[in-house]
Symmetry: C2
Subunit: 334 residues, 2 copies
């Protein structure tokens, strides 16, 4: 008799993230099936349980009490949730969309909060689509799990159990569940994900204007900062536009640092002392916090994220989540 760690998982959208999640769950023997508009045939050929009929998949999810994972781009989330409301009215829902506020707004509009826990695995590559998906994508990645509903004091035991299941989903595929409220999530990813994407696009343009000579002389620093510019522009737009509220002030911060650097480089004598020293210190601080994880030579993988064991629904558990959140830590549910 097989024991499963998770309920059946129904993934809607099998691009890089949804597809990789399906591969990992399948490889670990969990029950997983899904829907995709593009690439269903390729996925079936690869041996996966995939349909190109959304209502068929959702009826099946409803019948077997699956957890639904919304893995479509932000622009398609509203209509997918409408279908979930129609065909899978009692299923629990999570998602893997890269912004959390706009998704939560749609959840609230549909009064789905009691059966929704948001998620966002901080993993990806510059490629997209089913063909880019692969096992192991989430290994050691942070998987943001939102808990605003509990913070507002509204969560019952069902919701607490769902929170636990979503954390479990993350850990089954090798990721680390990081509890975070939607607003804090969106502000943080504006800094560390959406801003780097905007930078990659703008730097690619500046490099390209230097022609073949500049390109010929480009090396690691340029390559590292522009790699993600090969991401489909649609996906970049989607992430950045739907998180504009958080991204605009972060861009202002960044531009102001550059403007100061530009001015002190234009002084006589030219100076970059302030930025180079402050930036280096910031980098060292982050590297020190990151700690043993990357540098460890031990074969045992050590996470640099502080861990707290939490029992969802137990007294004080939401305060525990807030504490973990303030440290960027991870939860292990029991």
């Amino acid at each position: 008799m097989t024991t499963y760690q998770l309920p059946p998982i129904c993934i809607l959208g099998l691009g890089l993230i949804g597809g990789s999640l399906m591969r990992d769950l399948h490889a670990r023997g969990e029950r997983v099936y899904g829907f995709t508009l593009h690439g269903a045939r390729a996925a079936r050929r690869d041996g996966f349980d995939v349909s190109d009929s959304m209502d068929e998949v959702l009826r099946r999810a409803e019948a077997d009490g699956a957890l639904i994972v919304v893995a479509v781009p932000m622009g398609a989330v509203a209509s997918v949730l409408d279908q979930v409301a129609l065909y899978a009215p009692s299923c629990d829902i999570t998602d893997v969309v890269s912004v959390k506020n706009p998704v939560y707004d749609l959840i609230v509009e549909r009064d789905m909060q009691a059966r929704y826990v948001g998620g966002h695995p901080m993993a990806g590559t510059e490629f997209s689509g089913w063909n880019a998906s692969h096992e192991g994508l989430f290994s050691s990645a942070a998987w943001a799990v939102t808990y605003d509903y509990a913070r507002e004091g509204l969560a019952d035991q069902h919701w607490a159990a769902l929170f636990g299941t979503v954390c479990k989903l993350a850990s089954v595929v090798g990721a680390e569940a990081v509890p975070v409220r939607v607003a804090l999530h969106d502000e943080a990813v504006a800094r560390v994900s959406h801003l780097p994407h905007v930078i990659a696009e703008a730097l690619s343009l500046v490099g390209d204007r230097g022609g073949t000579l500049a390109q010929s002389l480009s090396a690691g620093s340029f390559r590292g900062a522009t790699r993600v510019a090969s991401t489909e522009p649609e996906l970049v737009r989607n992430m950045c536009e739907t998180n504009a509220e958080s991204l605009v002030p972060v861009l202002d911060e960044f531009i102001s640092l550059l403007q100061d650097a530009r001015n002190s480089l234009d002084d006589d004598p030219a100076s970059l002392s302030h930025l180079s020293e402050a930036g280096h210190r910031a980098h060292l601080r982050m590297a020190a916090r990151k700690g043993a994880r990357r540098e460890s030579v031990s074969p045992v993988k050590i996470s640099s994220r502080p861990v707290m064991r939490v029992h969802p629904g137990a007294p004080g558990w939401v305060d525990q989540l807030e504490q973990v959140e303030s440290l960027g830590g991870r939860v292990e549910v029991f």
Copy 2:
């Protein structure tokens, strides 16, 4: 009887670049020795011919007709050239400094143009010093080689031969000699090397301000764009400050692209369509030009840089260099 491909090489300064050059030349059986202020003992312990006395090393170079490679930070180049003038007045000189105009000014001040060909290997890591140096650093890297003196019509056969030797030096360690005039070099590296360093510093600061939560959620895009912020701030300052004349207008270009993106993200509805599409196209153009080099699965390494075989000093050779330069191509000397 051993045949050498190069004259004896005397490297002044054994940090990441100078040290790695020494290791590669040594491994290939060339005659190489050098001077370093810091780490001479460590280098000798590693089996290399290294002194901490600059005048001793320079007298030796003068005696055996060595090619001198100036591999100290920009700030130390003037005093090193003064010592070369004093103790090795007939040696030929090249350098590996990351800006070429300021070095050339010092060369002209000392009337050393007839025995100088500038160089700049586009290789490096975020680490520095002898202990970071290693074999293979220059493999497939562009090695900029300057030729202004010839473009001005002043080069004699001695200078032409020296140009050939510097190209040979690059190719012996696996790099590709890219001919470029100093002003064009400095403008190009401002785009593809110094700007990425400034970005890395500023982005590290913006990420760090997001605290441990932002750090915990950071992934590949952030890591790629901030990696070089671990470079010693002194080195970053040195590069950027000495190339401020080229870097300031490039920073203006970059800031203006970000400002436009910021404004269109602040519109209603928020849009990043212009930047994300233009940036992606620029990235694709560059990737297409880069061609087979990175993607090739062939065990034979194929360079994506167009090649021209040039005989330094032959009729029309300087026009050939200019043609190669306009393509960011490489020269093979014969």
